[in-house]
Subunit: 465 residues, 2 copies
Amino acid sequence: MTFTIQDVLIAADDAYTTVDVQVVDGKIAAIAPDLEVIGTAFNGTNKLLLPGFFNAHTHSSEMWQRGIMSAFPLELWLAELYDFAPLDTEKVYLSALGTAVETLLSGGTSVVDHLVLIPELELETIATAVRAYKEVGIRAFIAPLIQDESMTAGIPSGESAKTHEPYFRSTSATLAIIEEATRQFHRPDEGVYILVAPTGIQLCTDALFEGCIELSDRYNLCRHSHLLETKAQEKLAQEKYGCTAVEHLKRIGYLSDRTTLAHCVWLNDADIDIMAETQSTVVHNPLSNLRLGSGIAPILKYRQAGVNVTFGCDGASSNDSQDLLEAIKIGSILHNVTDSDYQHWITPQQAVEMASLGGAKGLNLADKLGSLTVGKQADLVLYDLTHLSLLPRTDPIGLLVLGRPHNVVDSAWVNGKQIVANGKVTTINVDELRQELFNRSQWETKRISESVAQIEAHYRTIMGL
Amino acid sequence: MTFTIQDVLIAADDAYTTVDVQVVDGKIAAIAPDLEVIGTAFNGTNKLLLPGFFNAHTHSSEMWQRGIMSAFPLELWLAELYDFAPLDTEKVYLSALGTAVETLLSGGTSVVDHLVLIPELELETIATAVRAYKEVGIRAFIAPLIQDESMTAGIPSGESAKTHEPYFRSTSATLAIIEEATRQFHRPDEGVYILVAPTGIQLCTDALFEGCIELSDRYNLCRHSHLLETKAQEKLAQEKYGCTAVEHLKRIGYLSDRTTLAHCVWLNDADIDIMAETQSTVVHNPLSNLRLGSGIAPILKYRQAGVNVTFGCDGASSNDSQDLLEAIKIGSILHNVTDSDYQHWITPQQAVEMASLGGAKGLNLADKLGSLTVGKQADLVLYDLTHLSLLPRTDPIGLLVLGRPHNVVDSAWVNGKQIVANGKVTTINVDELRQELFNRSQWETKRISESVAQIEAHYRTIMGL
């Protein structure tokens, strides 16, 4: 927890400078040239040091279905996903490990896992994810995914009023699970946080949102949700509330400076103003937005309006990876086609700040994380600038964000504890993990989803296809 | 040149099958289970065999400026690029090696290098690239980038007629260089091809295009150009010809079944019909189209119209990598946001065919390359399916195309010669290459481009910024 990185490149305004960085008891103690070596010495020559990034939205257990999900929009894709979702905690454990490893090896030191809960094993699912993330040592924000309406309620009904099966678990029972999870697992000092995380307006009643707000206030928990990922959800909000989803969430008090909202593709200009006013954070998931055809989130507009934006990989079934550098790259350059004035485009330096400080702000930790600042926690990543994918030498951050680097994370520390060294995760046996993932799966091709068969015709009608 | 891959997965319709593959004298001789081992035996267990992909448009020497180019649209970006372009053949050599290595390690066995020529050293530049690609052993389509108008002619003039500096080299001298390059280096049997490659309508006279057509017909050369990459070029075509660029290129006879056209972002529906009718090929470069804000090429429309489409990385200064799997992934999923009917979306299996057979078609080699077919040349890539980025096991091609695989190319062969083994390029010393790239470069930040300063105000006016 106490060490000194010597002769390392760090970004300083629009340039780079070579410094030493002292970390004492898990905190950054000094950043300057020619410091005394305290604790272990690390050679930073030809390496770049950055604050760890946030993988600010994912669903770890989707790793089991990556590569095989059909080319569907969200509503049908979800139906297929749930038909084949893993239902044992051992699989949850392995995919949480895999998510942590891929995040770490692409520059992330924090992960927000919007965790899909196994029915009847909700607390066990949460406990399993906590165990996996603690073993790896990544900073873990566990956001148990809850809802209190059944899946078909998430698709607009159109002209005809539709009734839906009631959800299998009551709103109060769901809230009780989150409260119990908070008591058992919410340990910020140990790098494990529980979030309230209703999945979104499409499958949650106001009672569930209000219960989450109450828990958030009482236990000082951050809030997380999906928001307006698809055009269908925009329609649904109008059907359900007679106003936009953002107006409704503001009215019930869900938006705040510790609320992170994944996607935010279908917001209008007034909604964007509300996001700024409430200091809510947008988590941009560019890969899944493309893969599912959800649309291009108006990220340049958010930035111009002063809305905080950070990046997520989203679950590995809609991405189909957990490579955070990929999400940062595509999440930066994608928007250049939406605004012909290049002066508005996101630069690599801005992208790095969005991925680090942007994530910290959204999780109400900007005073403790997200930048190389004396006094902040040492969540740090050291990149090897001699890898072919970062050569020839030009602008290190430009290469990192705009290139396609791989195998470039030399070391990573969370809270001052080293968990990646020489490019390898040191806390778990990754070869064993690979073997387990291999053994518990099989090569397969198309599967038939019964749920999709049930809802596809209705979906196509409603969406005018 | 003669070997047998045993027990390897190959794609068969919508499923996979395990077979042996015999290669004799550089050609695929048999594909079936339980074949006799001829020549060297390779263990294909837990591996996927695919035809090699085509990196169907790049500019190798841009590698020297990757990571550092400003966030500019093409016209300004080009001005900055040329202000700092490398002017020695040793750099051209190293970046061609680097381009070949990155292409190979991401599944490509062919590269189309739209090669920027050093003024007064044109044939030397071509000779250098030929030498580099032959050393690596990748199949090389060298398309010397030529023009006969000066850079400022590439920006629409707007209301006021503008005159431009004459280009430093005459049209006939330029054509003579290409003819000489053809005589010296065009050796299809050795895997080296020269293409005629006027950069595009924005900087070329009809005389240059017509001279290229004549050379193409006389020497049986393929044709390559940029086409309508930006909205500015669409305007320019109207100014220059009073019709679309595609209508003009058809009229002068440049479009054909051996013409590949990079970008094709700003074509209208009638243009798309012309592309289909002339059997021209679109080379889709999704990363650079995003990075430069050029727009989203209407790839789903091309496919519906029956236009052949394949993928390119484009030069590494506008990408900023040569990872072909990344280009294939983004080039597939990007279009889901342009058409809400998911039945039109590109599947991973279709993307693989576009990247392999699509490239072969565009280069007039569909009878010899682009698929696992008995009698075709053995340009093959063997993927290791036990790498973490391809686990857990689901659909191998889905994982490869939609995931973010790295370090997964176990082996690659071009014309039956193995040039990647155990994940390493075997023909050159990649560590030495890294060292050379490192030594000949330095970390730097923003540079000041004088050319950009000269044209930026005009560009902003013309584009209404």
